[in-house]
Symmetry: C2
Subunit: 209 residues, 2 copies
Amino acid sequence: MSRTKSKPRVRRTAEQARRVILDAAERRLREGGPEALRLRDIAADVGVSHPAILHHFESRDGLARALQSRAMLGLQADLLAALSGGDESAADLLERVFETLGDSGHARLLAWYALANQHAEEDVPEGGMLAQLAGELHGGRAQRASRLAPPEREDSEFVVRLVAVALLGDALFGPILNRSLASDAGESQRRFRLWLAELIAEHVDRPRR
Amino acid sequence: MSRTKSKPRVRRTAEQARRVILDAAERRLREGGPEALRLRDIAADVGVSHPAILHHFESRDGLARALQSRAMLGLQADLLAALSGGDESAADLLERVFETLGDSGHARLLAWYALANQHAEEDVPEGGMLAQLAGELHGGRAQRASRLAPPEREDSEFVVRLVAVALLGDALFGPILNRSLASDAGESQRRFRLWLAELIAEHVDRPRR
DNA sequence: GAACTTGTTTACAGTTTTGTAAGTATCTCA
DNA sequence: TGAGATACTTACAAAACTGTAAACAAGTTC
């Protein structure tokens, strides 16, 4: 066979290589489900041989851990970007949180994480983001409220928790529920989010007794 | 070796065999995550050889499909049991729905289903259960409401949808969120459910404008 | 430009996994 | 009680998977 000038071998920096590998792995995971994290396939997507992946991540498990870590950090970054938007109404802030948490990519990755690490005690990298969000929300409410009826701190935390689980849950289970509840899929999901936003807003702004 | 009376081979009916196999598979799936559906392990749990599983389910994929189907049917049965409870308040009804949907086993199984069949159009066996629930809820509301302000049908559907995604989401993502939000895990999750129940009840019974 | 570092490949090994073929044991039924 | 059906087992095959070892090549440094 002609051995003319066969391989212009690409050589990335370690950081670049890790990134493109994680990108491919994440894509596989999102599109193919939890069983689709195969070294060979990922390597093929990137265009390298599979030992290259092992070189960068030690083992398949190392790749999975790195992926989970990056997914959490990414979610944190997106949430942070949503949070830091100057001083706007709680409604606007919530709307941006809706966008990032309702993204089915995040939900899928987080679900995979939850299913994989169910009895793992290791703290998740994301930690504290939602607590911060709860803090901001609570601060705003306490400021707006008449001083006779400040909301309880726990109530604000639960609001955030509700938003989180409802959006993540809807992003994940929505397609299934749509088939049994709604006729038109995407439209119903959109309207549901608006409805939820209004419900939350009403609750948040309702004067305490 | 002594061949005295070696094997009192157990022989189940096909139905029984399928059941115990699916039980073991479900247990594996719940405890070990989505990658834990291995024929050898399941067979070992049941105490049979792995080809016995293939005999009953054709292939590993057939087992997975049967498992998904049974999980959906089981959820439907549990929901049905929760729904059919004579005439009680919407709060009591919701509370029993809370119990069954908030069960982390159901949530995990459903999440696995959602992740595995993301772009599958095949209708899920569960179909219609939640629609029925929405119907019952709506009927009760319309009856109770003053005839000047009946709630919209879509509002009742969204209430059901919120309950479903929030409970499933909380069962699945709750443990993760707990680490970033709450100090005491289980207790917080319980209180959150109560809080949600109250929020829903308030919304459902609030007179329309 | 020689030496060194390190990203990458090829070739291979060991294990695990699903699946098949053929025989065996247990139940049912005439 | 004999014959048939079928749940189940043993043995094996083929493929896929992760992981290892050694060599190779693209940068980097002195």
